[in-house]
Protein backbone atom coordinates (compact mmCIF):
# COMPACT_ATOMS: atom_id res chain seq x y z
CA UNK A 1 0.00 0.00 0.00
CA UNK A 2 1.01 3.57 0.49
CA UNK A 3 4.03 2.70 2.60
CA UNK A 4 5.81 1.75 -0.59
CA UNK A 5 5.19 5.05 -2.30
CA UNK A 6 5.43 7.67 0.34
CA UNK A 7 8.67 8.91 1.82
CA UNK A 8 8.32 9.08 5.58
CA UNK A 9 11.85 10.43 5.77
CA UNK A 10 11.07 13.65 7.56
CA UNK A 11 9.06 12.22 10.35
CA UNK A 12 11.01 9.11 11.17
CA UNK A 13 14.59 9.95 10.40
CA UNK A 14 15.83 9.94 13.98
CA UNK A 15 14.10 6.73 14.75
CA UNK A 16 15.26 5.21 11.50
CA UNK A 17 18.86 6.06 12.30
CA UNK A 18 18.59 4.40 15.70
CA UNK A 19 17.03 1.37 14.10
CA UNK A 20 19.73 1.16 11.45
CA UNK A 21 22.42 1.25 14.15
CA UNK A 22 20.62 -1.35 16.24
CA UNK A 23 19.90 -3.43 13.16
CA UNK A 24 23.51 -3.37 12.04
CA UNK A 25 24.59 -4.51 15.49
CA UNK A 26 22.00 -7.27 15.46
CA UNK A 27 23.08 -8.48 12.03
CA UNK A 28 26.71 -8.40 13.08
CA UNK A 29 25.89 -10.44 16.18
CA UNK A 30 23.72 -12.87 14.26
CA UNK A 31 26.38 -13.27 11.60
CA UNK A 32 29.09 -14.05 14.13
CA UNK A 33 26.97 -16.56 16.04
CA UNK A 34 25.77 -18.09 12.78
CA UNK A 35 29.32 -18.50 11.57
CA UNK A 36 30.29 -20.14 14.83
CA UNK A 37 27.52 -22.77 14.77
CA UNK A 38 27.41 -23.21 11.02
CA UNK A 39 23.63 -22.63 11.05
CA UNK A 40 21.80 -21.79 7.82
CA UNK A 41 19.96 -18.54 7.36
CA UNK A 42 16.71 -20.11 6.22
CA UNK A 43 15.16 -16.84 5.16
CA UNK A 44 17.38 -16.89 2.04
CA UNK A 45 17.42 -20.66 1.42
CA UNK A 46 15.89 -21.41 -1.98
CA UNK A 47 15.37 -25.13 -1.35
CA UNK A 48 15.70 -27.63 1.48
CA UNK A 49 18.86 -29.06 -0.09
CA UNK A 50 20.52 -25.68 -0.45
CA UNK A 51 19.94 -25.06 3.25
CA UNK A 52 21.51 -28.34 4.38
CA UNK A 53 18.76 -30.90 3.80
CA UNK A 54 15.32 -31.68 5.13
CA UNK A 55 16.46 -32.82 8.57
CA UNK A 56 18.33 -29.54 9.09
CA UNK A 57 15.16 -27.70 8.03
CA UNK A 58 13.04 -29.71 10.48
CA UNK A 59 15.49 -28.97 13.27
CA UNK A 60 15.51 -25.23 12.55
CA UNK A 61 11.70 -25.12 12.22
CA UNK A 62 11.24 -26.92 15.53
CA UNK A 63 13.57 -24.39 17.13
CA UNK A 64 11.33 -21.56 15.85
CA UNK A 65 8.38 -23.43 17.35
CA UNK A 66 5.59 -21.46 15.65
CA UNK A 67 4.19 -20.90 12.19
CA UNK A 68 1.85 -18.06 11.22
CA UNK A 69 -0.61 -18.93 8.49
CA UNK A 70 -3.45 -16.61 7.47
CA UNK A 71 -6.95 -17.05 6.05
CA UNK A 72 -6.96 -20.85 6.02
CA UNK A 73 -10.53 -21.83 6.99
CA UNK A 74 -10.86 -25.16 8.77
CA UNK A 75 -13.28 -26.61 6.24
CA UNK A 76 -11.62 -25.14 3.14
CA UNK A 77 -9.96 -28.02 1.28
CA UNK A 78 -9.48 -29.62 4.70
CA UNK A 79 -7.02 -26.99 5.96
CA UNK A 80 -8.04 -27.92 9.50
CA UNK A 81 -6.58 -31.40 8.96
CA UNK A 82 -3.47 -30.01 7.24
CA UNK A 83 -2.79 -27.81 10.24
CA UNK A 84 -3.42 -30.40 12.94
CA UNK A 85 -1.38 -33.04 11.07
CA UNK A 86 1.53 -30.61 10.69
CA UNK A 87 1.34 -29.64 14.36
CA UNK A 88 1.39 -33.28 15.46
CA UNK A 89 4.14 -34.27 13.06
CA UNK A 90 6.64 -31.56 14.00
CA UNK A 91 5.45 -30.17 17.32
CA UNK A 92 5.17 -26.69 15.81
CA UNK A 93 2.30 -24.45 16.91
CA UNK A 94 0.31 -23.07 13.97
CA UNK A 95 -1.47 -19.70 14.42
CA UNK A 96 -4.24 -19.31 11.87
CA UNK A 97 -4.93 -15.56 11.76
CA UNK A 98 -8.24 -14.28 10.33
CA UNK A 99 -9.31 -17.76 9.13
CA UNK A 100 -12.11 -16.49 6.89
CA UNK A 101 -10.08 -13.68 5.35
CA UNK A 102 -9.68 -12.98 1.64
CA UNK A 103 -6.63 -13.01 -0.63
CA UNK A 104 -6.47 -9.22 -0.45
CA UNK A 105 -6.49 -9.31 3.34
CA UNK A 106 -3.56 -11.74 3.22
CA UNK A 107 -1.60 -9.35 1.00
CA UNK A 108 -2.47 -6.39 3.22
CA UNK A 109 -1.26 -8.29 6.27
CA UNK A 110 2.06 -9.10 4.58
CA UNK A 111 2.49 -5.44 3.58
CA UNK A 112 1.37 -3.80 6.79
CA UNK A 113 2.88 -6.12 9.36
CA UNK A 114 6.36 -5.97 7.82
CA UNK A 115 8.84 -7.90 9.92
CA UNK A 116 6.66 -8.06 13.04
CA UNK A 117 6.67 -11.42 14.79
CA UNK A 118 2.95 -11.79 14.07
CA UNK A 119 3.32 -11.29 10.31
CA UNK A 120 2.15 -14.22 8.17
CA UNK A 121 4.93 -16.67 7.27
CA UNK A 122 3.10 -18.12 4.30
CA UNK A 123 0.09 -17.22 2.19
CA UNK A 124 -2.32 -19.13 -0.02
CA UNK A 125 -3.79 -16.65 -2.49
CA UNK A 126 -5.58 -16.29 -5.80
CA UNK A 127 -3.44 -16.35 -8.92
CA UNK A 128 -3.88 -12.64 -9.71
CA UNK A 129 -2.74 -11.67 -6.22
CA UNK A 130 0.38 -13.82 -6.52
CA UNK A 131 1.26 -12.28 -9.88
CA UNK A 132 0.72 -8.70 -8.73
CA UNK A 133 2.69 -9.10 -5.49
CA UNK A 134 5.53 -11.45 -6.44
CA UNK A 135 8.08 -9.05 -4.96
CA UNK A 136 6.68 -9.72 -1.47
CA UNK A 137 7.62 -13.39 -1.65
CA UNK A 138 10.80 -15.37 -1.15
CA UNK A 139 12.06 -17.63 -3.96
CA UNK A 140 11.84 -21.26 -2.86
CA UNK A 141 11.45 -24.60 -4.60
CA UNK A 142 9.83 -27.53 -2.80
CA UNK A 143 11.20 -31.06 -3.30
CA UNK A 144 8.39 -31.89 -5.75
CA UNK A 145 9.06 -28.75 -7.84
CA UNK A 146 9.48 -30.73 -11.08
CA UNK A 147 6.03 -32.34 -10.61
CA UNK A 148 4.39 -28.90 -10.93
CA UNK A 149 3.74 -27.97 -14.59
CA UNK A 150 5.68 -24.97 -15.87
CA UNK A 151 2.51 -22.94 -16.44
CA UNK A 152 1.65 -23.31 -12.76
CA UNK A 153 4.72 -21.75 -11.19
CA UNK A 154 6.91 -18.68 -11.16
CA UNK A 155 10.23 -19.54 -12.86
CA UNK A 156 12.03 -17.84 -9.92
CA UNK A 157 10.04 -19.86 -7.40
CA UNK A 158 8.29 -16.92 -5.68
CA UNK A 159 4.88 -18.65 -6.00
CA UNK A 160 3.52 -21.91 -7.29
CA UNK A 161 0.02 -23.36 -7.64
CA UNK A 162 -1.15 -25.68 -4.88
CA UNK A 163 -4.70 -26.93 -5.50
CA UNK A 164 -7.72 -25.95 -7.54
CA UNK A 165 -11.36 -26.58 -8.23
CA UNK A 166 -14.41 -25.64 -10.24
CA UNK A 167 -16.89 -22.85 -9.66
CA UNK A 168 -20.10 -24.48 -8.44
CA UNK A 169 -23.60 -23.65 -7.24
CA UNK A 170 -24.45 -24.75 -3.69
CA UNK A 171 -28.12 -24.77 -2.79
CA UNK A 172 -30.27 -25.29 0.32
CA UNK A 173 -33.19 -27.50 -0.73
CA UNK A 174 -35.21 -26.72 2.41
CA UNK A 175 -35.51 -23.07 1.35
CA UNK A 176 -35.16 -23.20 -2.43
CA UNK A 177 -37.82 -25.28 -4.16
CA UNK A 178 -36.01 -25.82 -7.47
CA UNK A 179 -32.24 -25.45 -7.25
CA UNK A 180 -30.63 -23.63 -10.18
CA UNK A 181 -28.05 -25.64 -12.11
CA UNK A 182 -27.05 -22.84 -14.47
CA UNK A 183 -26.39 -19.11 -14.35
CA UNK A 184 -29.21 -18.59 -16.87
CA UNK A 185 -31.78 -19.84 -14.34
CA UNK A 186 -30.60 -17.45 -11.63
CA UNK A 187 -32.39 -14.42 -13.05
CA UNK A 188 -35.73 -16.12 -12.30
CA UNK A 189 -37.69 -13.94 -9.83
CA UNK A 190 -38.30 -16.97 -7.60
CA UNK A 191 -34.67 -16.56 -6.36
CA UNK A 192 -35.31 -13.14 -4.79
CA UNK A 193 -32.84 -12.52 -1.94
CA UNK A 194 -31.31 -15.97 -2.41
CA UNK A 195 -28.09 -15.81 -4.41
CA UNK A 196 -24.74 -14.95 -2.82
CA UNK A 197 -21.06 -15.00 -3.64
CA UNK A 198 -18.83 -16.28 -0.84
CA UNK A 199 -17.13 -12.85 -0.55
CA UNK A 200 -16.74 -9.69 -2.66
CA UNK A 201 -14.94 -10.35 -5.95
CA UNK A 202 -12.78 -7.25 -5.47
CA UNK A 203 -10.83 -8.87 -2.63
CA UNK A 204 -11.56 -12.60 -2.80
CA UNK A 205 -10.29 -14.85 -5.56
CA UNK A 206 -13.17 -17.33 -5.12
CA UNK A 207 -15.86 -14.72 -5.77
CA UNK A 208 -13.78 -13.20 -8.57
CA UNK A 209 -13.81 -16.64 -10.19
CA UNK A 210 -17.59 -16.85 -9.64
CA UNK A 211 -18.03 -13.65 -11.67
CA UNK A 212 -15.74 -15.02 -14.36
CA UNK A 213 -17.80 -18.22 -14.57
CA UNK A 214 -20.92 -16.08 -14.96
CA UNK A 215 -19.14 -14.27 -17.79
CA UNK A 216 -18.52 -17.58 -19.59
CA UNK A 217 -22.23 -18.39 -19.26
CA UNK A 218 -23.24 -15.04 -20.70
CA UNK A 219 -21.16 -14.76 -23.83
CA UNK A 220 -17.90 -13.76 -22.21
CA UNK A 221 -14.60 -15.61 -22.40
CA UNK A 222 -11.31 -16.02 -20.60
CA UNK A 223 -10.36 -12.77 -22.33
CA UNK A 224 -13.58 -10.97 -21.37
CA UNK A 225 -15.03 -10.91 -17.85
CA UNK A 226 -17.35 -7.93 -18.51
CA UNK A 227 -20.55 -9.98 -19.10
CA UNK A 228 -20.08 -11.48 -15.62
CA UNK A 229 -20.06 -8.02 -14.03
CA UNK A 230 -23.16 -7.10 -16.01
CA UNK A 231 -24.84 -10.38 -14.97
CA UNK A 232 -24.38 -9.62 -11.25
CA UNK A 233 -25.47 -6.04 -11.81
CA UNK A 234 -28.75 -7.44 -13.15
CA UNK A 235 -29.07 -9.87 -10.22
CA UNK A 236 -28.43 -6.98 -7.82
CA UNK A 237 -30.91 -4.76 -9.60
CA UNK A 238 -33.63 -7.45 -9.59
CA UNK A 239 -33.07 -8.17 -5.91
CA UNK A 240 -31.92 -11.77 -6.40
CA UNK A 241 -28.39 -11.03 -5.19
CA UNK A 242 -27.69 -11.02 -1.42
CA UNK A 243 -24.81 -8.83 -0.23
CA UNK A 244 -24.09 -11.12 2.73
CA UNK A 245 -20.97 -13.19 2.06
CA UNK A 246 -21.94 -16.86 1.77
CA UNK A 247 -19.65 -18.01 4.57
CA UNK A 248 -20.36 -21.16 6.63
CA UNK A 249 -22.54 -19.48 9.26
CA UNK A 250 -24.58 -17.61 6.65
CA UNK A 251 -25.20 -20.93 4.91
CA UNK A 252 -26.06 -22.71 8.17
CA UNK A 253 -28.40 -19.90 9.24
CA UNK A 254 -30.11 -19.89 5.85
CA UNK A 255 -29.13 -16.27 5.08
CA UNK A 256 -27.59 -17.34 1.79
CA UNK A 257 -29.60 -20.28 0.40
CA UNK A 258 -27.72 -20.28 -2.91
CA UNK A 259 -23.95 -19.74 -2.90
CA UNK A 260 -21.59 -19.55 -5.86
CA UNK A 261 -18.27 -20.88 -4.62
CA UNK A 262 -15.61 -23.52 -5.29
CA UNK A 263 -16.93 -27.06 -5.62
CA UNK A 264 -14.73 -28.19 -2.71
CA UNK A 265 -16.22 -25.55 -0.40
CA UNK A 266 -19.79 -26.33 -1.35
CA UNK A 267 -19.11 -30.07 -1.08
CA UNK A 268 -17.81 -29.55 2.47
CA UNK A 269 -21.00 -27.63 3.38
CA UNK A 270 -23.13 -30.63 2.39
CA UNK A 271 -21.57 -32.70 5.17
CA UNK A 272 -21.53 -29.89 7.72
CA UNK A 273 -25.27 -29.19 7.44
CA UNK A 274 -26.67 -32.65 6.77
CA UNK A 275 -28.57 -32.76 10.09
CA UNK A 276 -30.43 -29.55 9.30
CA UNK A 277 -30.97 -29.44 5.55
CA UNK A 278 -29.78 -30.87 2.24
CA UNK A 279 -27.09 -28.80 0.49
CA UNK A 280 -26.70 -29.75 -3.16
CA UNK A 281 -23.67 -28.97 -5.32
CA UNK A 282 -23.81 -28.47 -9.08
CA UNK A 283 -21.21 -27.38 -11.61
CA UNK A 284 -23.19 -24.88 -13.73
CA UNK A 285 -24.21 -26.47 -17.01
CA UNK A 286 -23.53 -23.25 -18.91
CA UNK A 287 -20.08 -22.47 -17.47
CA UNK A 288 -17.14 -24.65 -16.58
CA UNK A 289 -14.55 -22.45 -14.90
CA UNK A 290 -11.63 -23.72 -12.86
CA UNK A 291 -8.64 -22.06 -11.22
CA UNK A 292 -5.74 -22.85 -8.95
CA UNK A 293 -4.61 -21.07 -5.81
CA UNK A 294 -0.99 -20.12 -5.31
CA UNK A 295 1.30 -20.81 -2.34
CA UNK A 296 4.04 -18.37 -1.41
CA UNK A 297 6.44 -17.59 1.43
CA UNK A 298 6.64 -14.09 2.92
CA UNK A 299 10.08 -12.69 2.17
CA UNK A 300 10.09 -11.20 5.70
CA UNK A 301 8.66 -14.36 7.32
CA UNK A 302 9.29 -14.23 11.07
CA UNK A 303 9.61 -18.04 11.10
CA UNK A 304 11.52 -18.69 7.86
CA UNK A 305 12.36 -22.34 8.49
CA UNK A 306 8.85 -23.28 9.66
CA UNK A 307 7.45 -21.51 6.59
CA UNK A 308 9.60 -23.65 4.27
CA UNK A 309 8.86 -26.84 6.18
CA UNK A 310 5.11 -26.11 5.87
CA UNK A 311 5.41 -25.89 2.09
CA UNK A 312 7.47 -29.09 1.96
CA UNK A 313 4.73 -30.77 4.00
CA UNK A 314 1.86 -29.45 1.84
CA UNK A 315 3.53 -30.62 -1.38
CA UNK A 316 4.50 -34.03 -0.07
CA UNK A 317 2.00 -36.78 -1.03
CA UNK A 318 0.65 -36.62 2.52
CA UNK A 319 -0.26 -32.92 2.29
CA UNK A 320 -1.58 -33.27 -1.25
CA UNK A 321 -3.83 -36.18 -0.26
CA UNK A 322 -5.34 -34.15 2.61
CA UNK A 323 -6.41 -31.47 0.11
CA UNK A 324 -7.85 -34.24 -2.02
CA UNK A 325 -9.79 -35.49 1.00
CA UNK A 326 -11.23 -31.97 1.25
CA UNK A 327 -12.62 -32.33 -2.31
CA UNK A 328 -9.94 -30.08 -3.87
CA UNK A 329 -7.69 -31.03 -6.78
CA UNK A 330 -4.03 -30.89 -5.71
CA UNK A 331 -1.59 -29.71 -8.37
CA UNK A 332 0.36 -32.97 -8.25
CA UNK A 333 -2.75 -35.10 -8.81
CA UNK A 334 -1.79 -36.27 -12.33
CA UNK A 335 1.71 -37.36 -11.27
CA UNK A 336 0.34 -38.89 -8.08
CA UNK A 337 -2.14 -40.95 -10.08
CA UNK A 338 0.74 -42.10 -12.29
CA UNK A 339 3.03 -42.95 -9.41
CA UNK A 340 0.24 -44.53 -7.36
CA UNK A 341 0.79 -42.30 -4.32
CA UNK A 342 -2.72 -40.92 -4.63
CA UNK A 343 -5.32 -41.97 -2.04
CA UNK A 344 -7.89 -43.79 -4.19
CA UNK A 345 -10.75 -43.34 -1.70
CA UNK A 346 -10.31 -39.57 -1.65
CA UNK A 347 -9.93 -39.41 -5.41
CA UNK A 348 -13.42 -40.89 -5.79
CA UNK A 349 -14.87 -38.11 -3.58
CA UNK A 350 -14.15 -35.41 -6.19
CA UNK A 351 -17.33 -33.79 -7.55
CA UNK A 352 -17.88 -35.03 -11.13
CA UNK A 353 -17.19 -32.61 -13.99
CA UNK A 354 -18.77 -33.01 -17.40
CA UNK A 355 -16.51 -30.69 -19.39
CA UNK A 356 -12.93 -30.18 -18.23
CA UNK A 357 -12.23 -26.47 -17.96
CA UNK A 358 -9.48 -24.50 -19.64
CA UNK A 359 -7.46 -22.44 -17.20
CA UNK A 360 -6.94 -18.72 -17.86
CA UNK A 361 -3.42 -17.53 -18.63
CA UNK A 362 -1.55 -15.23 -16.26
CA UNK A 363 -2.09 -12.22 -18.53
CA UNK A 364 -5.83 -12.93 -18.71
CA UNK A 365 -6.04 -13.17 -14.91
CA UNK A 366 -4.32 -9.81 -14.44
CA UNK A 367 -6.54 -8.07 -17.00
CA UNK A 368 -9.76 -9.52 -15.55
CA UNK A 369 -8.78 -8.54 -11.99
CA UNK A 370 -8.05 -4.99 -13.11
CA UNK A 371 -11.49 -4.69 -14.69
CA UNK A 372 -13.23 -6.04 -11.57
CA UNK A 373 -11.33 -3.58 -9.39
CA UNK A 374 -12.45 -0.74 -11.61
CA UNK A 375 -16.06 -1.68 -12.33
CA UNK A 376 -17.44 -3.83 -9.51
CA UNK A 377 -18.29 -1.25 -6.84
CA UNK A 378 -20.06 1.06 -9.27
CA UNK A 379 -21.97 -1.83 -10.85
CA UNK A 380 -23.37 -2.79 -7.45
CA UNK A 381 -24.43 0.63 -6.22
Amino acid sequence: MSSDHRQPAKRTRGMALAVVVAGTLAIALAASSGAASGATNWSTATSATSGGGLSALIKAAKAEGTLNVIADPKNWADYGVEISTFEKLYGIKVNDENPLGTSQQEITAVQDLGSQSRAPDVVDIGQSYALANASLFAPYKVAEWSDIPAANKDPQGRWWNDYGGYVSIGCNTSIVKVCPTSFAQMTNPEYKNDIALDDPPTTANSAFSGVWAAALANGGSLANIQPGITFFQTLHHDGNFVETPGLPAAIASGQTPIVIDWDYNNAAETGLNKAKFKWTVAIPTDASFAAYYAAAINVKAPDPAAARLWEEFLFSPKGQNIWLEGYARPIELPTMIKSGSVNKTFEKLLPPVAVAAKYPTQAQVTAAEALIAKEWAASQS
Binding site: M1, V19, G23, L100, S115, S117, R118, A252, K276
Partner: protein
Protein backbone atom coordinates in the same frame (compact mmCIF):
# COMPACT_ATOMS: atom_id res chain seq x y z
CA UNK B 1 -49.81 0.87 28.23
CA UNK B 2 -49.58 -0.20 24.62
CA UNK B 3 -46.00 1.02 24.59
CA UNK B 4 -45.09 -1.27 27.48
CA UNK B 5 -46.38 -4.36 25.65
CA UNK B 6 -44.59 -3.28 22.48
CA UNK B 7 -41.37 -2.66 24.38
CA UNK B 8 -41.58 -6.02 26.14
CA UNK B 9 -41.97 -7.86 22.83
CA UNK B 10 -39.30 -5.87 21.02
CA UNK B 11 -36.70 -6.02 23.77
CA UNK B 12 -37.29 -9.44 25.26
CA UNK B 13 -37.96 -11.16 21.92
CA UNK B 14 -34.35 -11.17 20.67
CA UNK B 15 -33.04 -12.14 24.11
CA UNK B 16 -35.37 -15.14 24.40
CA UNK B 17 -34.76 -16.05 20.76
CA UNK B 18 -31.00 -15.94 21.27
CA UNK B 19 -31.25 -18.25 24.29
CA UNK B 20 -33.50 -20.69 22.43
CA UNK B 21 -31.34 -20.56 19.30
CA UNK B 22 -28.19 -21.24 21.34
CA UNK B 23 -29.79 -24.46 22.62
CA UNK B 24 -30.37 -25.83 19.11
CA UNK B 25 -27.61 -28.28 18.28
CA UNK B 26 -26.27 -29.17 14.86
CA UNK B 27 -27.68 -32.70 15.24
CA UNK B 28 -31.20 -31.27 15.29
CA UNK B 29 -31.88 -31.97 18.97
CA UNK B 30 -31.94 -29.37 21.75
CA UNK B 31 -29.15 -29.31 24.29
CA UNK B 32 -26.08 -27.54 25.59
CA UNK B 33 -23.89 -28.58 22.64
CA UNK B 34 -23.05 -25.01 21.65
CA UNK B 35 -22.01 -24.18 25.20
CA UNK B 36 -19.83 -27.27 25.65
CA UNK B 37 -18.16 -26.43 22.33
CA UNK B 38 -17.01 -23.18 23.91
CA UNK B 39 -14.95 -25.07 26.46
CA UNK B 40 -13.03 -26.88 23.73
CA UNK B 41 -12.35 -23.75 21.69
CA UNK B 42 -8.71 -22.95 22.38
CA UNK B 43 -8.66 -19.92 20.06
CA UNK B 44 -11.52 -18.37 21.98
CA UNK B 45 -9.80 -18.97 25.32
CA UNK B 46 -6.57 -17.45 24.04
CA UNK B 47 -8.30 -14.37 22.69
CA UNK B 48 -10.19 -13.91 25.96
CA UNK B 49 -6.90 -13.95 27.88
CA UNK B 50 -5.49 -11.34 25.48
CA UNK B 51 -8.54 -9.12 25.93
CA UNK B 52 -8.52 -9.46 29.72
CA UNK B 53 -4.84 -8.49 29.80
CA UNK B 54 -5.58 -5.44 27.68
CA UNK B 55 -8.57 -4.60 29.90
CA UNK B 56 -6.47 -4.77 33.08
CA UNK B 57 -3.66 -2.67 31.63
CA UNK B 58 -6.06 -0.14 30.10
CA UNK B 59 -7.89 0.28 33.41
CA UNK B 60 -4.61 0.71 35.30
CA UNK B 61 -3.25 3.35 32.91
CA UNK B 62 -6.62 5.08 32.74
CA UNK B 63 -6.78 5.43 36.52
CA UNK B 64 -3.12 6.38 36.93
CA UNK B 65 -3.54 9.11 34.32
CA UNK B 66 -7.02 10.33 35.05
CA UNK B 67 -7.47 10.31 38.82
CA UNK B 68 -4.48 12.56 39.63
CA UNK B 69 -5.50 14.88 36.81
CA UNK B 70 -9.09 15.17 38.05
CA UNK B 71 -7.94 15.79 41.62
CA UNK B 72 -5.31 18.29 40.56
CA UNK B 73 -7.72 20.23 38.38
CA UNK B 74 -10.36 20.43 41.11
CA UNK B 75 -7.78 21.40 43.72
CA UNK B 76 -5.39 23.71 41.93
CA UNK B 77 -6.79 24.60 38.51
CA UNK B 78 -10.58 24.98 38.90
CA UNK B 79 -10.48 27.64 36.18
CA UNK B 80 -9.30 25.08 33.66
CA UNK B 81 -11.89 22.45 34.67
CA UNK B 82 -14.11 23.13 31.69
CA UNK B 83 -11.18 23.09 29.26
CA UNK B 84 -9.75 19.81 30.55
CA UNK B 85 -13.19 18.26 30.54
CA UNK B 86 -13.74 19.33 26.95
CA UNK B 87 -10.45 17.72 25.97
CA UNK B 88 -11.52 14.50 27.66
CA UNK B 89 -14.70 14.44 25.57
CA UNK B 90 -12.87 14.87 22.24
CA UNK B 91 -12.58 11.12 21.47
CA UNK B 92 -16.37 10.94 21.08
CA UNK B 93 -16.09 13.05 17.95
CA UNK B 94 -13.79 10.53 16.32
CA UNK B 95 -15.58 7.30 15.32
CA UNK B 96 -13.66 4.09 16.08
CA UNK B 97 -13.30 3.27 12.38
CA UNK B 98 -11.58 6.63 11.77
CA UNK B 99 -9.29 6.01 14.74
CA UNK B 100 -8.51 2.63 13.19
CA UNK B 101 -7.73 4.27 9.86
CA UNK B 102 -5.32 6.68 11.56
CA UNK B 103 -3.56 3.89 13.43
CA UNK B 104 -3.31 1.68 10.34
CA UNK B 105 -1.68 4.57 8.46
CA UNK B 106 0.61 5.21 11.41
CA UNK B 107 1.63 1.55 11.38
CA UNK B 108 2.42 1.52 7.69
CA UNK B 109 4.58 4.66 8.06
CA UNK B 110 6.38 3.57 11.19
CA UNK B 111 9.98 2.44 10.89
CA UNK B 112 10.59 -1.29 11.26
CA UNK B 113 11.95 -0.82 14.78
CA UNK B 114 8.99 1.22 15.99
CA UNK B 115 6.49 -1.08 14.36
CA UNK B 116 8.10 -4.14 15.97
CA UNK B 117 8.18 -2.39 19.32
CA UNK B 118 4.55 -1.29 19.38
CA UNK B 119 2.52 -3.12 16.78
CA UNK B 120 3.76 -6.69 17.16
CA UNK B 121 1.60 -7.21 20.23
CA UNK B 122 -2.04 -6.21 20.77
CA UNK B 123 -1.13 -5.31 24.34
CA UNK B 124 1.19 -2.48 23.33
CA UNK B 125 -0.75 -1.44 20.23
CA UNK B 126 -4.34 -1.38 21.50
CA UNK B 127 -3.97 -0.40 25.16
CA UNK B 128 -2.94 3.24 24.57
CA UNK B 129 -5.86 3.78 22.17
CA UNK B 130 -8.37 2.10 24.44
CA UNK B 131 -7.34 4.48 27.23
CA UNK B 132 -8.25 7.32 24.85
CA UNK B 133 -11.60 5.72 23.98
CA UNK B 134 -12.38 5.23 27.68
CA UNK B 135 -11.49 8.82 28.52
CA UNK B 136 -14.83 10.62 28.03
CA UNK B 137 -16.85 8.55 30.46
CA UNK B 138 -13.95 7.67 32.76
CA UNK B 139 -13.11 11.33 33.25
CA UNK B 140 -16.72 12.26 33.92
CA UNK B 141 -17.46 9.54 36.43
CA UNK B 142 -14.23 10.27 38.30
CA UNK B 143 -15.00 13.98 38.26
CA UNK B 144 -18.48 13.39 39.67
CA UNK B 145 -16.98 11.24 42.42
CA UNK B 146 -14.23 13.70 43.34
CA UNK B 147 -16.66 16.61 43.53
CA UNK B 148 -18.97 14.71 45.84
CA UNK B 149 -16.31 14.67 48.58
CA UNK B 150 -14.82 17.55 50.52
CA UNK B 151 -11.57 17.32 48.64
CA UNK B 152 -9.84 20.38 50.06
CA UNK B 153 -10.43 19.48 53.70
CA UNK B 154 -9.35 15.88 53.16
CA UNK B 155 -6.18 16.88 51.37
CA UNK B 156 -5.28 19.67 53.83
CA UNK B 157 -5.82 17.34 56.77
CA UNK B 158 -3.72 14.59 55.28
CA UNK B 159 -0.96 16.99 54.21
CA UNK B 160 -0.80 18.63 57.64
CA UNK B 161 -0.34 15.17 59.16
CA UNK B 162 2.71 14.81 56.91
CA UNK B 163 1.31 12.63 54.10
CA UNK B 164 3.02 12.83 50.69
CA UNK B 165 1.02 13.21 47.48
CA UNK B 166 1.12 9.46 46.73
CA UNK B 167 -0.32 8.69 50.15
CA UNK B 168 -2.97 11.40 49.73
CA UNK B 169 -4.07 9.95 46.39
CA UNK B 170 -3.83 6.27 47.24
CA UNK B 171 -4.88 6.16 50.90
CA UNK B 172 -7.09 9.19 51.35
CA UNK B 173 -8.82 10.09 48.09
CA UNK B 174 -9.06 6.66 46.43
CA UNK B 175 -11.08 5.00 49.24
CA UNK B 176 -13.47 7.94 49.22
CA UNK B 177 -14.20 7.81 45.51
CA UNK B 178 -14.38 4.03 45.31
CA UNK B 179 -17.77 3.96 43.57
CA UNK B 180 -16.66 6.40 40.91
CA UNK B 181 -13.46 4.43 40.34
CA UNK B 182 -15.43 1.19 40.06
CA UNK B 183 -17.85 2.73 37.58
CA UNK B 184 -15.02 4.09 35.46
CA UNK B 185 -13.21 0.76 35.62
CA UNK B 186 -16.26 -1.31 34.71
CA UNK B 187 -17.10 0.90 31.74
CA UNK B 188 -13.48 0.60 30.59
CA UNK B 189 -13.54 -3.19 30.88
CA UNK B 190 -16.88 -3.35 29.03
CA UNK B 191 -15.41 -1.18 26.27
CA UNK B 192 -12.31 -3.35 25.85
CA UNK B 193 -14.40 -6.54 25.72
CA UNK B 194 -16.68 -5.07 23.04
CA UNK B 195 -14.34 -3.05 20.79
CA UNK B 196 -14.07 -4.90 17.51
CA UNK B 197 -13.47 -2.28 14.83
CA UNK B 198 -9.97 -1.09 15.70
CA UNK B 199 -8.69 -4.54 16.65
CA UNK B 200 -10.07 -6.09 13.47
CA UNK B 201 -8.65 -3.37 11.21
CA UNK B 202 -5.20 -3.70 12.77
CA UNK B 203 -5.42 -7.51 12.49
CA UNK B 204 -5.40 -8.41 16.18
CA UNK B 205 -7.46 -11.39 17.33
CA UNK B 206 -8.99 -10.06 20.53
CA UNK B 207 -12.04 -11.64 22.13
CA UNK B 208 -14.68 -9.61 20.22
CA UNK B 209 -12.84 -10.24 16.92
CA UNK B 210 -12.78 -13.96 17.65
CA UNK B 211 -16.50 -13.70 18.40
CA UNK B 212 -17.13 -12.29 14.91
CA UNK B 213 -14.94 -14.98 13.34
CA UNK B 214 -16.82 -17.67 15.27
CA UNK B 215 -20.07 -16.11 14.09
CA UNK B 216 -18.99 -16.54 10.46
CA UNK B 217 -18.06 -20.17 11.00
CA UNK B 218 -20.44 -21.54 13.66
CA UNK B 219 -23.43 -19.33 14.32
CA UNK B 220 -24.89 -21.43 17.16
CA UNK B 221 -21.66 -21.21 19.13
CA UNK B 222 -21.42 -17.46 18.54
CA UNK B 223 -25.01 -16.92 19.71
CA UNK B 224 -24.31 -18.99 22.83
CA UNK B 225 -21.29 -16.81 23.47
CA UNK B 226 -23.35 -13.64 23.00
CA UNK B 227 -25.87 -14.87 25.56
CA UNK B 228 -23.04 -15.51 28.00
CA UNK B 229 -21.46 -12.10 27.29
CA UNK B 230 -24.73 -10.33 28.01
CA UNK B 231 -25.29 -12.29 31.21
CA UNK B 232 -21.76 -11.49 32.39
CA UNK B 233 -22.10 -7.77 31.57
CA UNK B 234 -25.38 -7.66 33.45
CA UNK B 235 -23.86 -9.34 36.49
CA UNK B 236 -20.86 -7.03 36.35
CA UNK B 237 -23.12 -3.95 36.37
CA UNK B 238 -25.26 -5.42 39.16
CA UNK B 239 -22.21 -6.26 41.25
CA UNK B 240 -20.89 -2.73 40.86
CA UNK B 241 -24.16 -1.12 41.84
CA UNK B 242 -24.22 -3.47 44.83
CA UNK B 243 -20.68 -2.58 45.91
CA UNK B 244 -21.46 1.06 45.24
CA UNK B 245 -24.54 0.92 47.46
CA UNK B 246 -22.62 -0.78 50.23
CA UNK B 247 -19.96 1.90 50.04
CA UNK B 248 -22.61 4.59 50.20
CA UNK B 249 -24.34 3.08 53.20
CA UNK B 250 -21.06 2.72 55.01
CA UNK B 251 -20.37 6.40 54.39
CA UNK B 252 -23.75 7.23 55.84
CA UNK B 253 -23.05 5.11 58.90
CA UNK B 254 -19.71 6.87 59.25
CA UNK B 255 -21.46 10.21 59.32
CA UNK B 256 -23.90 9.03 61.98
CA UNK B 257 -21.07 7.90 64.20
Amino acid sequence: MAILVLAAIFFLGPLISAIRFSLEQTNGKDGLGNYTQLLHNAALGGSLVTSLEIAALTTAIMLALMLPTVVWVRLRLPRLALLVESISVLPIVIPPIVMAAGLATLQSHASAGLSNLIFSSPLTALTPVYVILAMPFAYRSLDVGVRAIDLRTLVDAARSLGAGWTTVLGRVILPNVRTAVLTAASLTVALVLAEVVIAETLLYTTYPVELVDTGQAQLGVAVALSVLSLAITWMLLLAISFIGNRGASRARIGRLL
